[in-house]
């Protein structure tokens, strides 16, 4: 297993999925922000996870608990020894978020469909509206693996000592936009980025069709951005979904051990009282008091 390139263990092609549609060990899971996408057609056999209602606590801003996650996966008919293949819209942002989430709760074999829903559609591969019901399971999750999740205090402590990587678009990083441009821009928090964070938009890691770039190109991408790949790294974006995509690249494809996703991301940092913020294209430094 350790001889298998990381990419082949965590990423599957659309051809692989078509060849495994009848494989009982494989569970396809579609994860979207726009949850109506699944109703309009999904890959045969795929169950749906709703990024918001299934994976977020309904009251406070946090994940569902270990017990809630176990109930969710049991109800969806996902077993501990299933190969879970995630895919979705938005270039797999929320599928990558779910991948990180499944990893956080210790699922043994979870993979991403390279290119997600978009690549599948652009290839004109078949989708179905058939409702999928799987028999219930008794899923058992692990405790959250905090080694891959950063909270705001971890980020504060990392200022000046660890890599921070902001994977939003250059306009969001500089403070000209507060959200991805497919969303209205009225937001309560301040614009800008966390001082010292380098800007490597998530999209640089993917081609137009949503598939990941080759490993060698990915390594050059982060090195040229000034990221010291030997240091601990925290990735963030606006709500932690695009940075889950970059976390997947750094931790899963490139095999870097000490990479965390800060799911509080800009919607938390940009609302905190008293924390430093940098505006403009430069990373800035910790002593900035502007």
């Amino acid at each position: 297993m350790s001889d298998t390139p990381a990419r082949d263990r965590v990423l599957v092609t659309a051809d692989w999925v078509e060849a495994h549609l009848a494989d009982p060990r494989v569970v396809l899971v579609e994860v979207d922000e726009d949850t109506t996408a699944y109703d309009k057609g999904h890959i045969a056999g795929a169950v749906r996870l709703d990024w918001k209602s299934d994976l977020q606590d309904p009251v406070r801003r946090d994940f569902v608990s270990k017990r809630q996650f176990e109930q969710l996966l049991s109800a969806k008919g996902i077993a501990n020894d299933d190969i879970v293949v995630l895919y979705g819209g938005n270039n797999n942002w929320f599928a990558a978020y779910a991948y990180w989430y499944f990893t956080l709760y210790g699922h043994a074999d979870v993979r991403l469909l390279d290119g997600g829903r978009k690549k599948w559609e652009l290839d004109s591969r078949p989708l179905t509206e058939e409702v999928v019901r799987r028999p219930l399971t008794q899923y058992v999750a692990q405790e959250q693996n905090r080694a891959i999740r950063a909270f705001r205090d971890d980020v504060l402590a990392a200022l000046g000592t660890q890599n921070l990587i902001d994977v939003r678009s250059p306009d969001e990083y500089a403070g000209r936009l507060l959200a991805p441009a497919h969303l209205p821009q009225e937001q309560s928090q301040r614009p800008g980025h966390i001082p010292t964070a380098v800007n490597v938009p998530w999209s640089k890691a993917a081609a137009d069709d949503g598939t990941f770039r080759p490993d060698a190109e990915l390594v050059s991408l982060y090195q040229e951005a000034g990221l010291d790949l030997d240091r601990d790294t925290i990735a963030y974006c606006r709500i932690g979904e695009r940075s889950a995509h970059t976390w997947f690249v750094l931790h899963e494809l490139l095999g870097l051990d000490r990479v965390k996703n800060y799911d509080g991301s800009w919607t938390e940092w940009g609302s905190l009282v008293g924390v430093p913020i940098t505006l403009g294209e430069e990373p800035g430094d910790v002593t900035d008091d502007a």
């Binding site: 918001k52 978009k118 652009l122 441009a181 497919h182 821009q185 009225e186 640089k204 919607t267």
Partner: protein, 101 residues
């Protein structure tokens, strides 16, 4: 903050049209609107900024900022189409995109 779906005709959600910079349009194949085309918004350096699938009426919409942009359209069986756009604050720019495939 949710609703990453396709752009529609009415701008809701308390958006101030006087200060917003909206780039929107319709993708068609012949006369027929194309649902599920992928429309990407690239900034002045060519970097990805956003992407939406078109809705049942072929419509898409971005909430951008003043500046130069490129709207790129990807659809099955069609060549990739790029449309340059220059937008100012308060603009609501409409594009009609015809696919060749």
């Amino acid at each position: 903050m949710c609703g990453a779906g396709a752009g529609g005709a009415a701008v809701g959600g308390g958006v101030d049209l006087a200060t917003a910079t909206i780039i929107e349009g319709v993708v068609r194949r012949g006369e027929a609107p194309v649902e599920g085309a992928y429309v990407r918004l690239l900034d002045a350096t060519g970097e990805f900024t956003a992407e939406v699938p078109t809705d049942a009426e072929g419509q898409f919409r971005f909430f951008a900022a003043p500046g130069r942009w490129t709207v790129r359209i990807l659809a099955p069986r069609a060549t990739v189409t790029d449309r340059p756009v220059s937008a100012d604050r308060g603009d609501r720019i409409h594009l009609e995109v015809a696919l060749d495939g």
